[in-house]
Amino acid sequence: MSSRLVGALCALGAAAGFSLTISEARPVSYPEAWTVQTFNEAERNALLIHYTTTPKAAYGFRVEDRGYDDHVFYGGQHNRLLKRWNAPDSQANLYLKLGAGVAAGDFNTGDTESKAAGFAQIAADWENRHVFFSAAAGTYAVEGAMMTEQSARIGVAPYAAEFGALHTWVMVQVDHRPDADETLGAEELTVTPLLRFFKGPALMEIGYSSNDEPLFNFTYRF
């Protein structure tokens, strides 16, 4: 991994406000692989099922309950690996994630309605067997409203596990949601310490945020 690449990734994270949104580990898998992912954090719960068609593209369906925004998003999602840097001892990735669908709910108004919705996110990560860094920035739009969010993660592995063994990471995730409505209990900036475990095709993350919200993410590939 060249120092220029590390610098570029850091610059991307900084430009994104040190953000990186969703901890969607490996948004593009290997060809013909299915991936099931669930994300449960801070009044946001999502299920994403996607199928990887080529080493650079995956397509799936996403349902996301956005509690603070009082609606549920249903739609298709496309994940694209824009660029991967494979170095002898590290790997870096740049991903684009796009989604489009329908948002249905009360939208904190009391009137149930459905609106067109969509999102776009750019995400980058770099890791070796001991250190992990990622950053992402995204925009979520529903008819008449647009929200931006950014997040970043850094992690360290307390030990370097071999293939097939249990891998453990200690991580900290920072989320920045400038459009968060604090009157509803949301916070603009949250910090979430978490533990990531993975073994075989399963990955699990458990954490607890500064907003007193538990985090639980799960990924299974087959």
Partner: protein, 142 residues
């Protein structure tokens, strides 16, 4: 979002490491059975009794090391995590010529055990590695 929470809990139970490992082992047995060569990682004991304490991945590595003349060791750039390496095993095991695959994250190597009478060219190996999303650094044939 009770539905998602419930689904998540169900998936966790189903995908517990023990289940996942068992499922992989059974899949491996099926794959090998299709080619008429049963390669039973769980029950194949070479008489030293060690295999009872080994994972199927460790057994694969041991058995591949013992198969002289049919192994290809591939150095791969970017193979830094288990998830990455799993992609390589999945892609390579789909190849007709491949009997088994062993991974060393420490050495960044993939050791391929070829079936009796089968062969894979360097170009085929490089294409498979690239299809899994990685870059080939070197190939060594035993």
């Amino acid at each position: 979002m009770k539905l998602i929470t419930t689904l998540t809990a169900s998936i966790v139970l189903l995908a517990s490491p023990a289940f996942a490992q068992d499922h992989q082992d059974h899949q491996d047995h099926q794959d090998h059975g299709d080619h008429g060569e049963k390669h039973e990682h769980e029950t194949h004991d070479h008489g030293d009794g060690h295999h009872e304490d080994m994972t199927s991945d460790e057994m694969a590595a041991t058995e591949i090391e013992a198969a002289e003349g049919r192994t290809v060791t591939v150095k791969v750039n970017g193979m830094v995590c288990d998830f990455c390496a799993r992609s390589l095993t999945k892609v390579l095991k789909k190849k007709d010529a491949v009997e088994d695959v062993a991974i060393s994250l420490e050495d960044k190597t993939v050791t391929i055990l070829l079936k009796e009478g089968s062969a894979m060219s360097d170009e085929e190996i490089e294409k498979a590695v690239k299809n899994a999303g990685y870059n080939l650094a070197a190939i060594e044939r035993a």
